[in-house]
């Protein structure tokens, strides 16, 4: 035993102290999945305080509406809301917070982001009481359209809803109605009519479709929506869930891939779409250098600052392909309450409060987004999208709600990119996807 060993002993003792420190700091971190019960939220909440982590940043249009609602809420109920306007990364910050006892009482975000983090991991409180709570004399379950809730998008493993949406987003094929009034008068209803429109645009010397090909999520919309048109809402998720991979042999799957291939081979996509960097292509579209763009209902807000003067936003739905009812894409933005929150009642009451028509109308007219209430008015630029959602018999989520770990990013996007960027044919795509999906479920089954 020499000198170094003796030093080691004192260092080891120090390390022991350090370890003890860290374990106490994270105390109680692992007993995470606490199933919370439904609570009665009708009583007085005066004097109670909640912590709200917002997905909006100070100054954003939505933030202004929510801040006004919170001011009214505090005045009406006597509760106090302490808000952190964190921005979109709030859901990423939520993950580590959920492992401590220091959780926010209320968070908001898109369903796509909150579901993997809090909804599917059993970390959210059931909000059944919110759905039966009344705003403007109507219970919230009646305020939110049935078709939004009927597919169970908000339900956790216990069958109770864990999210209350206050706003929605959707997509459409966007165009400038000032330049193409004919598309507003008679939008193409079927795929064949759509191809006709593209041919005419091409013949007139206008690039038919602009697409930022570096955003895999945008590229995927073409194949996924085609498949949903051919096989109905939920069919992409069913395709992905098939562990044998045989579902990829269905003729509709190949057909959907062929539609995408046709767009590429037909030269309908603006040249350079496969080698540019977002937002180059949507800028070019807003400049009038291409006629159409498949993108979200946020397009008017996102491109408004650089669109040519006089640009009149309008959109039509992804064309129908078979006799299946054409569902509209509807993604949700809403509130969730972490199960560990100690202020369940005021948090759930605030979630309900945002569905008052006063704030729903403000979301539509001031923030110019789509409120969840169908009776709320919206800005002119998104009227076409709202009409399409109202008319659609069913709705589907982005990527048909597929959130299996890594499936979209590591399995689907790379191969779908190859198809959309013209590097593989429809048949090659289907073959590769089948093999990759079999491997995926072998590894993750």
């Amino acid at each position: 035993m020499g000198k170094p060993a003796r030093h080691l002993r004192s260092l080891a003792a120090l390390m022991g102290v350090a370890l003890a420190l860290t374990t106490t700091a994270c105390g109680g971190a692992t007993d995470a999945s606490t199933m919370a019960d439904t609570v009665d939220i009708s009583g007085s909440i005066s004097g109670q305080t909640i912590n709200y982590w917002s997905m909006w940043k100070d100054g954003e249009p939505q933030q202004k509406v929510i801040a006004a609602a919170i001011a009214d809420f505090e005045k009406e109920t006597g509760a106090k809301v302490s808000v952190q306007w964190q921005g979109r990364s709030n859901s990423e910050k939520l993950v580590p917070a959920l492992n401590t006892n220091n959780v926010p009482d209320l968070v908001d975000g898109t369903l796509a982001k909150l579901a993997p983090v809090i909804g599917e991991t059993g970390q959210a409180s059931p909000l059944t009481s919110v759905y039966s709570y009344k705003v403007d004399d109507t219970s919230i379950s009646e305020v939110i359209p049935q078709k939004f809730t009927s597919n169970g998008a908000f339900k956790g493993e216990d069958g109770q809803p864990w999210m209350v949406p206050y706003s929605v987003s959707s997509d459409g094929i966007w165009f400038d109605a000032a330049k193409h009034p004919e598309l507003k008068d008679k939008p193409p209803a079927t795929w064949d009519e759509f191809i006709n429109v593209l041919d005419k645009l091409k013949a007139s010397g206008t690039a038919p479709i602009a697409a930022d090909g570096d955003i895999a999520g945008y590229n995927a919309t073409w194949f996924v929506t085609s498949l949903l048109r051919l096989k109905g809402a939920g069919s992409f998720k069913a395709l992905v869930e098939d562990k044998s991979g045989d579902a990829w042999d269905a003729p509709e799957v190949l057909e959907a891939a062929r539609k995408v291939e046709n767009l590429v081979k037909g030269g309908y996509l603006n040249s350079g779409y496969n080698a540019s960097k977002f937002p180059a292509q949507q800028q070019l579209w807003a400049n009038g250098d291409a006629a159409l763009m498949l993108n979200g209902s946020w397009t008017p807000t996102e491109t408004g600052s650089y669109a040519v003067p006089g640009f009149e936003y309008s959109s039509f739905q992804f064309p129908a392909m078979s006799d299946k009812p054409a569902s509209a894409r509807v993604d949700f933005i809403g509130f969730a309450v972490p199960a560990k929150s100690k202020n369940q009642v005021p948090a759930q009451r605030l979630a309900a409060f945002m569905l008052n028509s006063k704030y729903q109308n403000a979301l539509g007219t001031e923030a110019k987004v789509l409120p969840v209430r169908p009776d709320a008015p919206v800005a002119a630029a998104v009227e076409s999208v709202k009409a399409a959602i109202d008319a659609a018999p069913a709705t589907h989520l982005q990527n048909d709600g597929v959130t299996f770990p890594g499936y979209m990013e590591k399995v689907f996007f790379p191969k779908d990119d190859e198809l959309f960027l013209g590097k593989s044919t429809a048949d090659e795509f289907v073959g590769k996807m089948k093999a990759a999906q079999i491997q995926y479920w072998k590894d993750n089954g």
Binding site: A18, L19, T22, E120, A216, G217, S271, G272, A280, K410
Partner: protein, 332 residues
């Protein structure tokens, strides 16, 4: 055991030495091991108060999280909620994942190919700049790109290489009507490599120059008198005298190259709207996408497994590098 070996060695040196046979020397050495000189005692006393705080902080902030990561990598876990123990499954899955292999390959490309380019250029620049007039200004100019946030290069890449961007606008008057698709998915990683060479070379040039500047001028005068060529001067004076600086730079690059992430993230996929194309992923990006892509249920187990593998890679490479670069430091 160790004591007897030491005794043996002490005896042998004592035998050889001129004043050998003095038993006094022997006992005094053993004595110092037991009680120690007063300096030794003081040193031991000060170890805990001086090293202690840093050691505790280091353990809490680095060692414990690293051990925690190893623990998490043995589980299937979505970041919160229940953890399921799966043993080494995550590691097995990563090794079977073609994407991890190709991401890892990209990391190795950065480490070795970009690293070699950086060091050859940095060394060449060092030699040129040594004799150049206004070398201080030149040194600042080439160091400057290193100060700029990688995000800027990601955004600039769009301006420069988009189909309607600067490069194509400059090529058009030259009659190039069908320019290459600069930003196509397969071209992004080579572009990232070039950008990294441009931004990092200045940094290492600065460090190497500090080493070269330390060499006393009379060595060069000696070279001149002996009629040495420029190459001989490099081979026999500059290289041996800057070898330790060179070795440190190599270790620095190894560590930073394995962690390269943000430049890949902003070059493709852009502005948080998506994930970069898989062709340009590095091991660090692979880790991030598994945990935080925001598009699917987080897989913390797989993410930490790949982070642990990266850590293991860095450790092995650094140890190998230190071995390969080991020379007796030349005192001057």
């Amino acid at each position: 055991m160790s004591l007897s070996l030491k005794d043996h060695r002490v005896n042998r040196t004592a035998d050889r030495g001129p004043e050998s046979g003095k038993p006094l020397q022997h006992t005094s050495r053993r004595g110092s091991q037991r009680g120690g000189s007063s300096i030794d005692v003081q040193r031991k006393k000060l170890l805990v108060p001086f090293v202690g705080p840093a050691f505790v902080l280091y353990t809490v902030l680095f060692i414990v999280p690293a051990l925690g990561a190893v623990w998490i990598s043995l589980h299937k876990w979505a970041g919160s909620g229940p953890m399921k123990f799966v043993g080494l499954d995550n590691y097995g899955r990563i090794f079977r994942d073609q994407l991890f292999i190709s991401s890892f390959g990209n990391t190795l490309l950065l480490l070795f190919v970009v690293g070699a380019a950086i060091f050859i250029l940095a060394f060449a620049l060092t030699l040129v700049l040594r004799d150049m007039a206004g070398k201080k200004i030149a040194r600042n100019v080439i160091f400057f790109p290193h100060l700029i946030n990688a995000l800027v290069f990601g955004v600039l890449a769009g301006f420069i290489f988009n189909p309607g961007g600067m490069v194509n606008s400059l090529l058009a008057p030259l009659g190039v009507t069908d320019p290459p698709k600069w930003l196509a998915q397969d071209n992004i990683f080579p572009l990232i490599m070039v950008t990294l060479v441009c931004t990092t070379t200045g940094y290492f040039t600065t460090i190497l120059m500090a080493g070269v500047d330390r060499i006393p001028p009379y060595y060069y005068e000696d070279c001149a008198l002996a009629g040495a060529t420029a190459f001989q001067r490099l081979r026999y004076v500059i290289l041996p005298l800057t070898w330790d600086v060179f070795g440190t730079c190599a270790v620095l690059w190894t560590i930073s190259s394995v962690k390269i992430f943000e430049i890949v993230w902003v070059f493709g996929g852009s502005s948080g709207a998506g994930v970069p194309p898989t062709q340009s992923w590095t091991a660090a990006v692979y880790t991030y996408v598994n945990a935080f892509s925001g598009q699917s249920t987080p897989a913390y187990g797989a993410a930490t497994a790949s982070a642990v593998l990266s850590l293991a890679l860095i450790s092995v490479l650094v140890v190998l590098l230190r071995r390969a670069m080991r020379r007796d430091a030349v005192e001057f």
